[in-house]
Structures are given as C-alpha cells and as structure tokens.
Subunit: 569 residues, 2 copies
C-alpha cells in the first residue's frame, strides 16, 4: 500500500479522555476514533490490525474443528426469558422495542440463540458433538465504558458454543478449545497466562480465562512460580493456615476506642499487630437477615466467594446501616462476634486466630483477647478472602505471587444450564431423551488489540508483532518527491516486497523526514527501511526493527532478502 | 471439508412462511435459519456463500481504491438530528435508549457517522478525495419483512462514502464505483443491469441501481432493447406523444353513469376506447389544498414523480374523501377538470388528448367530448405516469420494454446534502472554507445471495456459480463406509483437489446414495463427482456439472485434472 493512497492520521497529543497507554496510543496513531461513550470507529489503520487478529482466530477455530456461522446481533426477548437471563442480566443488556412494540436486545452473547438453533436442528446422538463459532459485533451497556476498545460498549467477539452427549465429550472439546486459544495468543506474540476462573453470570462448572499480562490490567491473577497453578483472584483459594489455632493466652478486655473506625485507626490506637485484628462485614442472608463475615485485619473480603456461600443473598448485598444498628447495637466500625446471636462466618485464617482484637458491638468500644469457643461460639468457617502474595499455593507446591492481566479469552463448561432451561435434548442410542452438555468459548477480538498494545509500547509509540501489525514493513524514503534516485529505489523495493507477498507500506507522503519516521514508530510497524540520497551514493539503505536501538546499513541489492529473512513465518 | 465434520441440514419441505423460490430453497438447503420475523441466522453452509460474496466485494472495492474501515453499528441520535433524518426516517429506524436514557439507533446506513469522522479528520483540499467503505451488519425495521434475506430486518451491507473538493472529482469516483459494481456482479456470475434510479430518502442528484433480473423482483425496470437506456420505473421518463393534440371533434355532453366508479366500469358502460378516458387523482398541495392530477385511463400514476412536483406535499398525501367532496361537489369516481377551479396537472399524454371522457364533478355523472381550452382551461403539464411497454425511449432510440429486478446495489451522487447539514468543510488552495461534495455506494451483500438463487434454480434446487458456491466441487462416494475401493478413491481425489486449492466437499456421511445426490443438487454445488464400485471396476467415475442433464464417465486417473479444467478462474 502506498501511504498517499491510504489514510494515515496521527496526533501529537492524545485526547484527554484517554487514561491507559494503549488507549492514548490507539487514538494518537489513528487506529480508532471515538463516536460516543464506549463507541469507536476502527479507522483504516486499526481495521487492518483487527482483521489480522480475526484471521488468526478463524484459522485456529477451523483447525480445532469449530464450524463458522453467523447469528443475528438483534435477539428476541422471548429466548432470554426462557433462559431466565432477561431479568437477571440487568442494565448491561441493551434492550429495545421494534415498531410493533415487541422486545429485543442487542446481543452481548449468544447462548440463547445457538441453543435455540441446536434444539431445532439436532435430534439424535449421531449428530453430536457439534461446535459452532462466529465472529461478531456485540453490545454490552457498560456502566462506565473506558480504556478505549478494552472496555467499549460495542465490541467484536469470537464466540463458540459446543454441544455434547456427555461430560467427557464436553471436556475433550473444552481441552481442544483451550489448546486452540493458547495457539491463537502464541501466534499473536502475546505474553499470556490461562488461569482458572469464576464462571460468573454465564454459569456452569469449570472455566479458564486467558489473561494478557500487563501492569494496567483490571484483573488480578494469583499464580505459583514453582508450579502450574494460576487463577483469577476471584477464584484463587486461600487455604487454611498450616499451623493450628494457638491456645488462648489473654483475658477478654473491653477497651474504649473513641473515634476509631477503621483497622488502621485501631492498630495505631492500640499499638497492636494488624494480624491480631479482625475486620467485620455485614451482608444480607436470603431472608434479609444480617450475616457477619470476618476476615483478618490485613486481608480483604472476596465478594465472589462470599456470594457463593449457601444462604447468602445473590447478588451480594451489604446490610444497611440501620439494619446493622438494630442487630448489633452499634455502628459499623465497632462490630464483632462477641454477643452477636446471628450467623457468623469466619475466614479460614480468622478461625485459626487466638487473642483477637475485634469490635465490641458498642460504639467506640473494642475487645482484646477475644477467643473462639470461650468468648463466643465457634464460627462457621469458609474461604472468604482474597489471597495475598506469599500465601501457600492451593496445589501445595509453593507460594503464590500476584500479577495483573487483561482478560482476552474465556472458556466455560456450561454443562446443562441453558440446554435444560431451553429444552435442548437429543435421543440417545436407546431412543431415550437426554439433555445436552454444553460449553462456550469467547475471545475478545477487538480487546486483544488494546491488550497487545498495553503490553508492547515504548515512549515512541506502539510496538506491534509481525502477526498483528497493520503493515509488516514500512519503506520510508527521505525525499520521495525530491530525489529521483530515492524514488526509484523505494519503488523498486516496494514492488519486490509486494511481489513476495510482504504486507508493505511505502510512505510516499509529501511530509518532512522527521514526521515520516515518527509516524512509523508511533504506528508500531515492526520493520523499517529508510532510503536516502546519502546512503544510496554508497549503495546502502538503513534497516531497523521497531525494538532495535540503532539502524543497520544494508546494501541496496540485499535489502529485500534481508528484510524477508527477518519476518516471522 | 468432510461432510461428517461439517454441518449439513436439509429439509424435504420448506416451512410455509416462505413465498419466493429463493427463500424456500435457502431454508430447505439449510443456508439460513429463521430466528424471528426478518431475523435469520446464516448457517455454516450459507455463511460460506456469504463470505465468498463479501470477499469479491472487498477485492473490487480495494482495487477501486476505496479504503476499508469499520464504524459502530449503534449510533447516537445527535448525528441524525444534525442531518435532519432523526425525524424524517420514520419507523424503519430502530431507536433505543441506553442505560443513561440517551437516544441511539441501530444504524440502517452510515452517512452521518462517516460525515462526522471526515469533518473531524479532513482540513485541507490536499487530503481529498477520500473513499471509505465497510462491510457491516445493518438494521432496518421493515413494516413487513419477507422473502428471507432479500427483505430481512437485519442484513449485511457494503457501504462506501466518498468525499471531494468538486463535482468533477465526485463524478470520477462515482464512475469508478459504478465500474467496480459491474465487476462485482459480473464476477458473481449474475445477470444484472445498472439502471438510472430515483434518489429517494438518501437525497442527492444522480443515482444508479444495480438490478439482478428476476421475474419475482420487486422493482420494475424500463429499458430500451435497442439502446443503452435503462431506468427504474420510478424514474423512467414518459415522453410526450409524438403527434400533437387533435382538434376538438365532439360536443361536450353530460351522461348519466349510475354506479360507475372505475375506469373499467366507464369503458364498459359507455363502450368507449379506454384511451379516450382520463383518470383523476386528488392529492394535497403544500398548504393542504386539493390538486387534481390526471392520467389517461389505461395509465397509472407514478407517485414518485407526483411527489417531486413543485407545490405538492411531501410525502405524497392523497386528499381525504371529505375534502374531495367539499372541493369538487362529488365523490371520487366522478371527478374531472371541467368546472374545477383549483390547480390541475395533466400528464403529458392527457395534455395531448381531445374529445376526452372524464368525471362530471357530480355523483354518477360523466362528461364526453371534453376538450382543453374550450371546456376547461389549458392544464399545467407534467410527466406524471409510469411508462408502459411500447412507450418511446427517452433517448429517442427505440421503444421501451419492461422487466423485473432485485436491487442489489445502489450508487448515489449525494452532492452536499450531508456535508452542508453537518458542516463537513475543507480549506481550498486559497485558504477559503468550502463544503465537500459527497457520494455514497451500497451493496446488499446478504441480499445478493437470495437474488442469485432467485435467478438460478431448477426443480432440484439451487444452481450456484463457482464464485458463490459453498463448495465448488462435491465428491459423492456411493457407499463410503461400505466399500474400501470407493473410500480409497474418494479420499485420494479429495486430497488431490484440496492440495490444488479447490474448495471441495467430500460427502462421507453415512446416508443412502439417493440422499447424498439429492442434497448435492439441492445445495447447488456446481461440480459433482460420483464414485461407485461399478464404475471403479472399469476405472471410471461420473462427472456432472449442476446444469448438465447427464453425467460423463471420466477415467479415475484423469478426474482431478478434468474437474480443474472445468472450474472458472
């Protein structure tokens, strides 16, 4: 492509709306353009990147035996009512009415539609397993769209759905998709990690996320550097302490703590080790009754784990201050287990503590020397907290470390959640009706572009891998319209690389050399050849890979082969 | 692809919802599946066809210098309010509100969004011309969706938009796109015709439709078999009669015509030539006043032409019966120009008539021997009617014939309609601000599939061209799982054709031969190779093109080369 026949539009400064480096760089490089909150146009340069990602995703899906189709973006409400998600999905579901006042939504996902297709198409076990996928525009009405294409409202997703006679067949396809995902992200050149994950609102039993590792990621990943264990922090298990609970060593004492509201206040005021303190959170049970959750003072409550406790209202609901005062006789900041007659659930670590410091259930009063079984009843025990660095790995093979990631893929063993609700059944060998097992597998195609940039950039701009770059090679002539020699050399190299199937950009724009070079780096083209009169006099041009700190002089006669030798596959 | 690893699902009977052959065949062949009114999933087989169409469209757009991007499907209302179409577009625009109660629509077209992008991106004449395109899912909330993908609510469109400094530049790009469209439809193997067309609600000055010729088409095309003239009947000019108006030959006479309401009644009752009668239609002027439109009894009013008359209310509004009675003193069925003091517009043919038979403006009364200038004032004259077979061609080079077509493409010279409303300007060579000229160019990508089938089918099923077929070649083994020889020969041919880059289907399903052959014909695979034990004993297999009436025996050793020699490029 010649730049003069393409559309390049770069900015010196990113619009102030952008927070993350990838968002700023995508706007500055002209990959995307904002239309409205969470809505972006993919400009020609960005669309080339997106298409390269799509292509790799499609190739790996096809290779894994998934079959491509395309379902409508607009979906009738009836199907979502059948699955129960019309009510459950909340405001993220973009609902609308057509001219006949019938209800529809712009699909954020397609479990309902594919299950409807399969229940109509499949009669016999002989037709299973099946694995369908599509690459499609989705909509999720995020409460706070941000980070450009990483948390846009309209986005492009590859979503696949598999149907099976039994769990073993589901597990086999799940593994196949897991492997295909690894292949996709490897081919894209991303540093990523598959991690065990919570199934969230999609439902089902097992799930892995594919996380692109980046400091700015919204997700926290717990992993064990000395074992394969990796999980989203939402799911990562905090195991019980290896040492048993010590015997009680202190008397229960009442301490006046005027103005002490937080754990930090308490530690400061009493000069105690934070690991002796416990933090109290009150949530609602299924009947609205208060349930006291306890984690150690330096730990944080894991809301996903708390919501999964039996008897707890879903979604997790924190008790109102008035309800707390009525139940405990004190305001938040002075709550604790002693004297509370309702349900108490202690984190595993808390259950192994002795001589604790806790709220006294009286404003501005705390208790020290609190011991389970002596000062209050033994609590119900559960894993309630987020893991922290240094926690034992749940596989027993080391300790956990934390890092941040951007979720770009997610695979789920849905089992029979949708097939049962919607009646997707088949006749088995004995002619008996059975419910299908189901899996689903998503890749955030447009998000990948943002995540890749978040992981690969420097002060000069984006650093694309060969697989994703809008153009693999850029020829930058110094004075294309001023020097016949430069023009001839640039045109010849352009023709030669094009003929060899290289995706090459010839930057023949009438701009200053500094502008051309800066744009090339900002856009992140991985391979650059600079052609100038001075070099040509000596028969050389300058080659520089995007990550190289300096250029290499290469004879003009060798440059085409030199460049091609440096391209990945 | 092996059929056992693909998803084929054919039906013996089409669902009753389907009216057109293409719709029935697409459902029977399993190309599409209905989700809701006007919403279809593209099943794997159909999606292969769609992708082949998309690919050819993209190749020709790229070749024509258009640059691909991708705009959001969901668009903010503000832009449509700026262009004035938020009010104008009516119920076909699928409107919705997001969680913050902001108004959006699911885009049926993207003039507003692209104009917004260009007005922000383009500053100088140096950046023009530009021509952007996208291939995207659109939504039009049709009052009566039907004919499957031909008039679906959700559909896939290629839409391009060009921007220019002057009309000459617009005309050059318009011609380039016109040529590219011809190339697209030629490569797809369609019998089509570009026709001059009305610009309708899009606006602008010049326009051509690309019509796939088919008896079931919704559009009527007027063309001249002896000249290049062709136009949609909405636009086709009905020229004035070549012979001047005869002199008056009859006296004006009042005839009682009890119960006569229609032209057919009148001809029957009075035993007159229908070509002596005139038909009266009353529409509203801009102030709501009645305007009498007259066409010859055997002609039909062209509403698009009527709406374009100066002083006529838009959209065209027929006068209410009460308003007609008040103005004419008679009910519809007895209306005419004699005695009416309001505005009268006569079609060119009517203006050249003498001794006419018309309504008497009194219930159950008609007048004969009506003559212009004698019995009533000379009328205002305009082209008001639809052309009919045998009318003189407007280019003076023959007479018109009519045929039916399916619109699959449309190019428009929008001029400054959107750029002016939305302030898309540039600075010219003298630094003066100027409004851009604009063109837009659409192809109904998903509709093409239906139109192609509507034009190419027989009693056995679809007949695809090589360019559009889901698979170009089908290998149909008779007893793949029963005969080792058949399996070996089929596998070897499959491997050889695949290696040669042929898009081949090996139908290895465990079905009766009759089912395999019927499916192959229903689906419309253009080239078929049947492999059976009987033939193999003699070293031959059977080749048959989809349009061939009989098979040809071909030596097994030659069949791969034989098939490849029959494929179109």
């Amino acid at each position: 492509m010649r730049a003069s026949q393409f559309f390049l539009s770069t900015l010196k400064e990113a619009p102030s709306e952008a927070e993350l480096p990838s968002h700023k760089l995508m706007l500055r490089a002209g990959l995307i353009k904002r239309l409205a909150s969470g809505l972006y146009s993919w400009m020609p340069l960005g669309y080339r990147v997106l298409k390269k990602v799509e292509r790799i995703v499609r190739e790996e899906m096809d290779r894994a035996g998934a079959i491509e189709l395309l379902m409508p973006a607009v979906q009738p409400a009836e199907l979502w009512q059948e699955s129960g998600r019309w009510e459950f999905y909340g405001k993220e579901l973009l609902r609308l009415k057509d001219r006949h006042e019938r209800e529809f939504c712009v699909g954020p996902t397609h479990e309902e539609v594919i299950t409807d297709i399969v229940r109509k198409e499949v009669r016999s076990y002989k037709q299973l397993p099946l694995n369908f996928y599509q690459v499609q525009t989705k909509f999720r009405d995020e409460v706070r769209p941000r980070f450009g294409v990483m948390r846009a409202r309209e986005f492009i997703m590859k979503d696949a759905y598999s149907f099976h006679t039994d769990f073993d067949s589901l597990k086999a396809t799940y593994q196949g998709m897991y492997d295909a995902y690894c292949q996709v992200f490897t081919r894209l050149g991303l540093s990523f990690r598959p991690v065990a994950a919570d199934t969230g609102s999609i439902g089902g039993t097992g799930s892995h996320e594919f996380q692109v590792l980046a400091d700015s990621g919204e997700d926290v990943i717990a992993y064990c550097p000395t074992s394969p264990y990796a999980a989203n922090i939402e799911l990562a298990e905090a195991v019980a302490p290896a040492t048993p609970r010590p015997a009680a060593g202190a008397e229960l004492a009442r301490v006046s703590t005027p103005g002490v509201k937080t754990i930090a206040d308490l530690v400061e005021f009493l000069k105690v080790d934070i690991r002796q303190t416990i933090k109290a959170v009150v949530v609602e049970g299924v009947e609205g009754e208060p349930v006291l959750l306890l984690v150690r003072g330096d730990h944080t409550l894991n809301e996903v784990k708390a919501e999964k406790l039996a008897g707890i209202k879903s979604p997790l609901t924190f008790a109102a201050p008035s309800a707390i005062e009525a139940a405990f006789g004190a305001k938040p900041g002075s709550l604790g287990p002693v004297g509370f007659t309702g349900r108490v659930v202690a984190d595993r670590t808390v259950a192994a503590m002795a001589d604790m410091v806790a709220g006294g259930n009286e404003d501005d009063v705390h208790l020290t020397g609190v011991n389970w079984g002596r000062d209050c009843a033994e609590p119900e025990v559960a894993d309630l907290r987020n893991v922290v660095e240094g926690d034992a790995s749940p596989d027993g093979q080391g300790v956990l470390a934390l890092c941040r990631g951007i979720e770009v893929g997610h695979v789920f063993q849905l089992r029979t959640k949708y097939s049962e609700a919607m009646g997707a059944t088949y006749l088995d060998r004995d002619g008996k009706q059975q419910v299908m097992e189901m899996g689903c597998y998503g890749i955030g195609v447009s998000r990948i572009v943002g995540a890749a940039i978040e992981q690969n950039f420097d002060e000069r701009g984006i650093i694309f891998t060969d697989a994703m770059a809008p153009f693999t090679v850029s020829i930058v002539p110094m004075g294309y319209r001023r020097s016949e020699a430069v023009q001839a050399a640039a045109d010849a190299l352009y023709a030669e690389l094009k003929a060899a199937g290289v995706d090459v950009l010839l930057d023949d724009r009438d701009e200053r050399p500094g502008v051309l070079l800066a744009d090339c780096e900002l856009i992140g083209i991985p391979h650059r050849v600079v052609i100038g009169d001075r070099g040509l006099k000596e028969g050389v041009v300058e080659y520089q890979a995007r990550r190289d700190s300096a250029a290499t002089s290469v004879p003009l006669t060798d440059i085409a082969a030199w460049v091609q030798a440096r391209l990945s596959a």
